[in-house]
């Protein structure tokens, strides 16, 4: 027991920043704390991780788990940290071997499958640029991640398979589980809905004008921040 470490990438707009994940297992009553400005989705990772690990045959330690996302002051959002936190915690419990400089980016399903996340391309670019070429993603994200020159991408279907490759004891692992169903990145499914139209947007005059200008000039554009806050 002790401290486990892994790496992930936080996206702020299109810029990615390497995030170091530390996990510590304390000898006291069970609880799970995530530090380092997680948003609501990231805070729910605790429950996803507990179930996913349990259903993969490597239950988490029944002690106090503290996961720290460094730098602590950088806000982190979304479910893409699930896998990195899990690996750091398993590493702290000596359930898997030390992880080195591998970057993990995937959401976990309760059954232990790895689900794709959005923003893989800029995240992998940032990781490679920062000197972290070894990337583990969900299989459904592997093709996109492989577009980045210099990236050594490993796509996995399940947490059990990944843990096995990182030295977990195979006798407990649920290795024969093949997740079924389609794994599309969140909210990409727009079939059956009419094309969105700018005239349906209420207010947001500046944002709409910017969109029109960008479209007319054939430029890229990124909107960040919560919607509806334009004065």
């Amino acid at each position: 027991m002790g401290v486990g470490r892994s790496y992930c990438v936080a996206l702020v707009g299109l810029n990615g920043y390497i995030v170091e994940v530390e996990a510590d297992i304390g000898q006291t009553l069970p609880s799970f704390v995530i530090l380092g400005l997680p948003d609501a989705a990231l805070n729910e990772a605790k429950e996803r991780i507990r179930s996913a690990a349990q259903n993969s045959g490597i239950p988490l330690s029944r002690r106090k788990i503290t996961a720290n996302l460094i730098p602590a002051s950088l806000p982190k959002r979304g479910s893409g940290f699930d896998l990195a936190i899990t690996m750091a915690v398993l590493c702290a419990a000596n359930d898997v071997r030390s992880i080195g400089r591998t970057v993990f980016m995937a959401e976990l399903g309760l059954d232990g499958r790895l689900r794709p996340v959005r923003g893989i391309l800029p995240a992998v670019m940032a990781a490679v640029q920062a000197g972290f070429p070894d990337i583990v993603v969900a299989e459904a994200n592997a093709a996109e991640a492989s577009l980045v020159p210099g990236a050594k991408v490993h796509g996995y279907k399940t947490l059990a398979r990944l843990a096995y490759d990182f030295g977990a004891d195979p006798k407990d692992l649920v290795l024969d589980y093949e997740p079924s169903g389609t794994d599309t990145a969140e909210d990409d499914d727009t079939t059956g809905f009419p094309e969105p139209d700018l005239c349906d947007v209420s207010g947001q005059g500046e944002a709409r004008r910017a969109l029109e200008v960008a479209a007319a000039g054939g430029h890229h554009m990124l909107l960040t921040g919560p919607p509806g806050l334009c004065p």
Binding site: Q27, T28, L29, P30, R62, R63
Partner: protein
């Protein structure tokens, strides 16, 4: 005689195992199953000059969660209150106090599994 329920028997069995275990850890058991209006302390022990109030949680299996998971913040707060009550009732002062939790998992077939957490809060 009152008929004991299975869960109480299991609890008693776990407490006996836990007391035995704490003694092998060098603790001196000074009270068992002390009750007051606020509840019950399973084990009171001394480790050096530290007064240890131990809560024992026993389970047949892990199917309904680990024994430690049954000790939440409310239970801890009550254990602290009970520790104070015990000290008052026995006119004990100036001792350092600690709350421990012992988890016992005993399926009745293999060897019972005991885990001990010291100073849980």
């Amino acid at each position: 005689m009152m008929v004991m329920r299975a869960k109480d028997l299991l609890g008693q069995h776990g407490e006996a195992l836990a007391a035995e275990f704490l003694e092998t850890q060098g603790m001196r058991i000074i009270d068992r199953n002390w009750r007051c209006t606020d509840g019950e302390i399973d084990i009171v022990a001394l480790e050096g000059d530290i007064l240890v109030v131990a809560e024992v949680k026993t389970r047949r299996s892990l199917d309904y969660g680990h024994p430690f998971e049954a000790v939440g913040p409310a239970k801890l707060a009550r254990l602290h209150r009970l520790a104070s009550s015990w000290c008052r009732a026995h006119e004990v002062r100036a001792l350092r106090r600690r709350i421990d939790v012992v988890g016992v998992v005993d399926d009745g077939i293999g060897r019972p599994l005991l885990e001990h957490l010291r100073g849980v809060g």
